[in-house]
Amino acid sequence: MADKQVIFKIQRFDPETDKKPYFKEYSVPLIDGMTVLEGLSYIQEHIDGSIAFRSSCRAGVCGSCGMHINGAYRLACETQIANLESDVITIKPLAHMKVLKDLIVDLEPFWEKYRSVKPYLIPGDPNPEIERLQTQDEREDLVGMIDCILCGCCQAACTMTGTDEEYLGPAILFKADRFAKDSRDHALKERINLTGGAHGVWRCHTIYNCQVACPKKLDPTGAIADLKRKSIDRGTRISFWGKI
């Protein structure tokens, strides 16, 4: 065939039949402007229907298709094969999560942690008639905090989520900090209590894996550092003066 072929090397695993994950290779004809996700769906449609992966929006906004592609965590849908500059594309599921099938991992613990940090606005006063006022400056604090798509790439890249299963992880702490930074939120005390535990912010060693892995170029490390500073501020006051 005249077309250029790329080899997809995909980690396969079915916990019911396989003892260990293994790699299987597929050859896919390369089309101009093809993304990794398109390659995967080509395999699913034409070569091996048993392969399983999550996908939805194909525009990099839903966060379904986070996976480990050629040495880094990326969204399959926005990764151009041409940009990888390699004839072999190695794909692994998100690390530190239980593999349910091939590239599908068990996200339930992730959502469980998400729920545990009260990820919703807790305003101090009853809702006013009109909107709550917030200056554009206060709104600017949220730039870069509201863009998280919860794809789980940072969570998988973080070395600490691998060693400590109970560690909340960068994505969750990022979410917690999004509310800690919101001028309309009045539950900072509660948020610090929820994230300032031994399996919370103190488990972070500022490795920056999350920041490097983030497909949206957000800064979870910075968010965790922000929570640490807030926690220290409160913690030292309590220790030295007994209360705030």
């Binding site: 079915d14 990099g60 990820p119 919703y120 305003p123 509201i146």
Partner: protein
């Protein structure tokens, strides 16, 4: 058997809003979604949500009535006017409610919600959060879902709606990871499954936006309304057809053809680029067809004159998508765009209460047709529709249950439906047919795109209808590669393909018969709007040998239809 008072199917904005509305009355409400709620395609909405808040200095004289009139005018007077007025009257309340829940809208100088101009609107009234409005609202609603501790069935897919004696009893759902079928009994079922974008090859919609959600009630005899009105978004990125928000033009972007002209001057001199979507799509297509497009397939959306600061603060997502998918930076280069299928104005036929003819079955969001958008939807009204009618559907479902005498009925119907679905899926898996799914999908999307696209013609529509009918027949001989039940995504796509085909049939059949041009339905052989014969809704009903069409009155009690000019 799993039992819920109310089961919401679909985890997008409308679904979550409905579930939250129900949970204020009953705790036994569940939300069932094919993916995860935050993965829903509502999150891809970019531009904003419309509401007459009058926060913009240029919008001080705006009002809900003006918003309603713009919506009706935008709809080419096919909207049910009371429904449109309800939508716009509820808008400020719902937007402020979102704000109270923590939605990070951009702000004005005084700290109120900022508003930007949008297509077809007389005043700037689109509230936005950069170009990620859908994303932030989706996350805010999911946060509320978590707060209300609503049970969600993630990665479950409904395969059948169970209707017994004309009353909705529940659904049969498949757990995608295990492939197991479960009957779910519910007093009321709310469908909020979105549109059928995958019917078209060139679409802004997600891979998961398929027509199954509309096809399931359709197969149970619940009609689909106004299906021929399919909106094409004028600006989608060439190649991947990812949405380039209308906000680009709202912020002042220009559309330019090969000659470098702002061609909208010729077509809509007053509104220019901010004419409604159907008009801009037609203009772009005309330019391309008349040879003034690049490579005969696209034109340019030029943002370069806006300056780096405005693009980075107001349209960061657009810039990111352009860089990731096309390798161009909108600050320095124009974006190549073409129209792409975007939204279904039509859907499950329901009234202003989101109720259908089957008691206990409700629909909201894109999959429903309350008929607020008529023949063409204005940008920013879809997010509004989801939160307004999501809430209404939830509340009306609660009211229905309160007035209901029997409960926990229909076990027998559910069990027999379960058996029927089991055998259907087993047949699909064991079918040794020669037909391959990618072929059918490809032929379907190409037919729809080429023959039922922006411009439509009688013989093309006829050919398309034949083709879709042929594909429905060929679908019966589908042979799948993967015969396993567990985690079989191919099976999921196959089930959805059937839904897509059925929905497509209603689209083509409706378009073939409607001999006029109205809103997004543009017939080259009938270029004029014909209020005398066609000011009516198309209602498509399922029968085993194809679509049965009938017609319904349009509510024009408030404004007299006039010619639509921009």
């Amino acid at each position: 058997m799993i039992y819920h008072k109310v089961l919401v199917v679909g985890g997008g904005l409308a679904g979550m809003r409905a579930a939250i509305a129900v949970s204020e009355h009953y705790t036994n409400v569940a939300l069932l979604t094919k993916i995860y709620p935050v993965r829903s395609h509502s999150g891809a909405a970019q531009g904003g949500i419309n509401g007459a808040l009058c926060n913009n200095p240029r919008g001080l004289h705006d009002s809900c009535e003006r918003h309603g009139f713009d919506t009706i005018k935008g709809s080419d007077f096919l909207a049910d006017q009371k429904a449109s007025m309800l939508l716009t009257a509820e808008a400020p309340k719902r937007i402020r409610e979102l704000e109270h829940w923590g939605c990070p809208f951009d702000r004005t100088e005084e700290g109120k919600i900022a508003q930007r101009p949008f297509g077809g609107a007389g005043f700037p009234r689109t509230c936005y959060a950069a170009d990620k409005t859908g994303h932030v609202i989706l996350h805010v609603l999911y946060e509320q879902l978590v707060k209300h501790e609503i049970k969600t069935y993630n990665e479950w897919m409904v395969t059948k709606l169970v209707v017994e004696d004309g009353i909705c009893r529940g659904v049969i759902a498949m757990e995608l990871l295990t492939g197991k079928l479960h009957p779910i009994m519910a007093e009321a079922v709310i469908f909020t499954t979105g549109g059928s974008g995958r019917s078209y090859g060139v679409t802004t919609n997600a891979r998961t936006s398929t027509g199954l959600g509309m096809a399931i009630p359709y197969m149970e005899g619940i009609p689909l309304k106004d299906m021929e009105f399919v909106q094409f978004h004028p600006t989608t990125l060439v190649g991947s057809n990812i949405l380039m928000t209308e906000g680009c033009r709202g912020e002042g972007g220009y559309l330019k053809n090969k000659l470098g002209e702002r061609f909208m001057q010729k077509y809509a001199p007053d509104f220019m680029e901010l004419a409604p979507r159907d008009i801009v799509s037609r203009c772009i297509t005309t330019e391309i067809l008349e040879g003034r497009g690049f490579d005969n397939s696209y034109v340019h959306l030029d943002l370069t004159h806006l300056g780096a600061h405005k693009i980075i603060t107001r349209l960061p997502g657009i810039r990111e998508i352009c860089i990731n998918f096309k390798g161009i930076d909108p600050i320095t280069q124009p974006i190549p765009i073409q129209p792409g299928m975007h939204y279904f104005m039509g859907g499950i036929d329901c009234n202003i209460d989101c109720a259908t003819d089957v008691p206990g079955f409700y629909a909201a969001g894109e999959c429903a047709c309350v008929s607020v958008h008529g023949a063409n939807r204005l940008g920013g009204n879809s997010l509004l529709e989801t939160v307004v009618f999501g809430a209404i559907a939830g509340e009306k479902a609660v009211k229905y249950i309160e007035g209901k005498k029997d409960a926990r009925k229909g076990e027998k119907a559910l069990n027999s439906a379960l058996e029927q679905q089991e055998s259907k899926i087993n047949n699909l898996l064991n079918n040794q047919g020669k037909e391959k799914m990618p072929d059918i999908t490809k032929e379907m999307s190409e037919t729809m795109l080429k023959k039922v696209g922006v411009f439509r013609k009688k013989d093309e529509l006829k050919a398309a209808l034949d083709k879709i009918k042929e594909l429905i027949q060929r679908y019966k001989n589908l042979g799948l590669l993967n015969k396993n039940r567990k985690c079989n995504q191919e099976l999921m796509w196959a089930l959805e393909l059937e839904g897509n085909l059925l929905v497509d049939e209603t689209v083509v059949a409706g378009a073939l018969v409607r001999e006029e041009s109205r809103g997004s339905h543009s017939r080259t052989d009938f270029p004029k709007r014909d209020d005398k014969n066609w000011l009516k809704h198309t209602v498509a009903t399922y029968s085993s040998d194809g679509v049965k069409l009938s017609y319904k009155e349009v509510d024009t009690s408030i404004y007299e239809p006039v010619e639509r000019k921009y």
